[in-house]
Point group: C2
Chain length 170, copies 2
DNA sequence: TGGAATTGCGTGACATTTCACCTAAGCTTT
DNA sequence: AAAGCTTAGGTGAAATGTCACGCAATTCCA
């Protein structure tokens, strides 16, 4: 191990702030989605990942890696979502071990409806409290961390993916 | 509503980075704790919150708010943790509706053991990838966001609390 | 003081998630 | 092409989490 030991006080401050934000934000997002649409936050994560995938379709394994879930959780969850007609599953023709999960027409509509309120909440809770001049540094910081996690972590790197409401065209 | 609509591209960048970091990090922390100690991340969150509480003890309601859980989740979880002798519950003498959850001797030891590996992981995944000069801005940014969430969100503000490995004395 | 409203929690039914294991398809070697 | 490996997924039971409701202690107020 590189150096062992504690975090210094500057790092403690950053970590404390991070944890606090993440706990509250998750709670609030869950709550908002649940009450304003028929989606849970996990539902939303799945739909979002699929919505930007090439042809709106992704193998289970890839989907799991994208959103940091156990494979079997995706398996169960996707089955339930299929019953609600949010996604559909089919066997890949090229490799018949893989199941492709695909966003249905209905799923896309539901996601797009839900995204409005969700993005609104994100703006209100996250960005309304963030001074413009810190947006850049924050992005940089988190991107650096992300890159490092990809390099150090155990999860395979993602294919291109972004949460809903985040597009390429500005 | 203030202005409705989408996030601008600077904000999209920040949000994308945040989501990516949070999904991966949660996954990795869960995994590390599970394999290196007998604790789940939820267990760890509970122990951590208690460990810094005044007299190592907290009403269920307060604990729930601290860590952003539903009250009843805390209720169930704490009961299970009590069976493992990590915490203990008792009725408050001043208000006999409230249940005080308290960290046991054993619970504290388990937490302290687990914290070593956990902090090590946090350093490796989070701080090794974060340039020193961005630590300050990151802290500031997240603290601003946090303050705003407290103000705007639905959860009551926390009493003083910090995750394990984060202390006052530098 | 005596309801009525509020507050803090526990509970049980139900939903979700995890874990260990299973199957089957592709791949490699012989 | 069969044996053995590896990889993608599904599955069922157990652990965990959510939701709606109920109970009891406290508070409010007429």
């Amino acid at each position: 191990m590189p150096e062992g030991g504690w975090l210094d006080s500057q790092q403690q401050r950053a970590w404390l702030a991070y944890i606090r934000v993440q706990l509250r934000l998750t709670y609030e997002m869950n709550r908002q989605l649940q009450s304003d649409s028929d989606l849970s936050l996990p539902d939303y994560d799945v739909l979002t990942a699929l919505s930007v995938a090439d042809r709106g379709l992704m193998p289970i394994k890839v989907l799991a890696a994208q959103i940091g879930w156990e494979r079997s959780r995706v398996s169960h969850h996707v089955r339930r979502m299929a019953q609600r007609d949010l996604v559909s599953c089919s066997l890949s023709t090229s490799d018949r071990r893989v199941t492709e999960v695909r966003l249905t027409r209905h799923g896309r509509r539901v996601l797009e409806d839900a995204a409005v309120g969700h993005v609104e909440l994100v703006r209100r809770l996250f960005f309304d409290g963030l001074p413009r001049e810190l947006e850049g540094p924050l992005s940089q910081a988190l991107e650096s961390v992300y890159t490092n996690i990809i390099a150090q972590g155990t999860l395979p790197p993602p294919v291109d993916w972004r949460p809903h409401g985040v597009s390429d065209r500005p």
